[in-house]
Symmetry: C2
Subunit: 330 residues, 2 copies
Amino acid sequence: MKIAIDAMGGDYGPLITIQAVSRVLDSNKFIDFELFGNFEKAKPFMKKFQLISSSRINFIHTEEVVESNDRPSLALRVKKQSSMRLAIDSIKEKKNNACVSAGNTGALLGIARFVLKTLPGVSKPAICGVLPGINKVTRVLDLGANIDCSAQDLRSFAIMGSVLSKSTGGILRPTVGLLNIGEEEVKGNDIIKATADLLAAGDLNYCGFVEGDDIFKGTVDVIVCDGFVGNVALKAGEGAAKLLSGIAREEFSKNIFTKLSYLFAKNVTSNLKNRVDHRNYNGASLLGLRGTVVKSHGSADSISFQKAIMVAVNEVSQKVPEVIGAQLEE
Amino acid sequence: MKIAIDAMGGDYGPLITIQAVSRVLDSNKFIDFELFGNFEKAKPFMKKFQLISSSRINFIHTEEVVESNDRPSLALRVKKQSSMRLAIDSIKEKKNNACVSAGNTGALLGIARFVLKTLPGVSKPAICGVLPGINKVTRVLDLGANIDCSAQDLRSFAIMGSVLSKSTGGILRPTVGLLNIGEEEVKGNDIIKATADLLAAGDLNYCGFVEGDDIFKGTVDVIVCDGFVGNVALKAGEGAAKLLSGIAREEFSKNIFTKLSYLFAKNVTSNLKNRVDHRNYNGASLLGLRGTVVKSHGSADSISFQKAIMVAVNEVSQKVPEVIGAQLEE
């Protein structure tokens, strides 16, 4: 298997992408890489991790980069030699099996959609992320690719999320919830109601409406919503978690006694941190495309970017796009 | 000042509403109450808190109650003698200055809107809640009253939230953010864009787009969004907070050492809990009506319900509906 890496994407570019690649090479014999980016900028890190002469890495040099504030349309039309574009082109050309990038989400989505095209029956690709719950994770989509979604779109998200949960999450018959603002039948707008009817009539393990707090409860395996709501919910959850950890930090550093108690509680707090560390959940899947594309968080470190690579590896070995295509045809 | 209390609303009814009333009576000389509910059910608590013969409480007996799963339309059409309805009627009849209920949100909103009517220039009332941030609170609206909102609706929410933040939050010139999924101008749907234009052209202290995590950051004093997004964001935040506290509980109770460290950290964790305790933020304001109505969380305890009463008291003393009405006319 060969993975295309946009080596320049994200806040740190080659500083973290190359180290992540090096780690994956060390731990997985059957994964090779094609890296896209500015070789001059990548060179120090390629040297540091002794990858310059590795037969398992092919480096494609390009000087064009999609910036984090580039408009997606501009990135698509103008930056045809960017590391991101070349990486996705290589999937289309079947040179690589999947592409991982920590770059501009809108541009990645726009380019992937334009170059790879959507699967038959999919009008909109969706971004699917894995979020932690107390006992199990939940896959939530769409996390921001599409602001306006029809009932048909939401239904296809439900199918795609179920396939992902089954094939890469190992859930035999994933439960699916539709995000709403109340569990009662009366609530929700017309699109939500129409989607509920479609899902109830279909073959998925549909469980009805869920609410915002179900995202972090592990109530269901897959939660479906439009990209506006999904993105706000994801970030509101992150915000609440940051607030709590910020206040905890303040309280623990108040005086000598609280600082001492922090030392005693350190094991607990580091376990806690680890269990909800967003780095462990890095790697959002762009679903509904004729190819595997994984988006890493822009601020990912190398451990986190490594996780995103492994998400892509998993999807390739489970043939996720092919299975989604087959499911949608049914 | 006289406050109408729906004594039957919420998960615990008179068990908590009467105790909350008793506390407010003890600490505030100038606040009297009219309670609406089933006197037989309230009697034990009225006795317990020695309120039976209090000259500062008037109890209006009724046997009808709006249940938490009643459809709002049914509650409005059929339950014309419910404790909730009679409490709101009493505002319309100027017998009381404000109404507080922990009952069915949809019914409360529907009845309040029907009985009290909206202020001139307001087509939709909104639910506004106070959410904690690290250094300051943020008022967010709408938290669930309206699924579909026009740019004009969102603009009136911004005005109403600003008035509330100024008059009851003491913020001289409240900053206002519009919830979106990216700070760039290019993102957001047509309604969001039109709202941004309206707000930029108006007199409010409008600061542009904010994202979901800004809700718990205290980035701005007021965040405006439609009720679907607001409700999901609020609950996602709650869900994330519950996940963290749940995992912390698990980690602290793992073994004898972690239990010991919990004892050492107890001061810190209880301060932390206190600072984000949702009970301290209880009492969401129904804004845009010709009268003051405050919704308490359904699962509120007496301390929490007391907070909701004080929210209503504050709004009455600051003449919030009148100020909003005047602002909207400008």
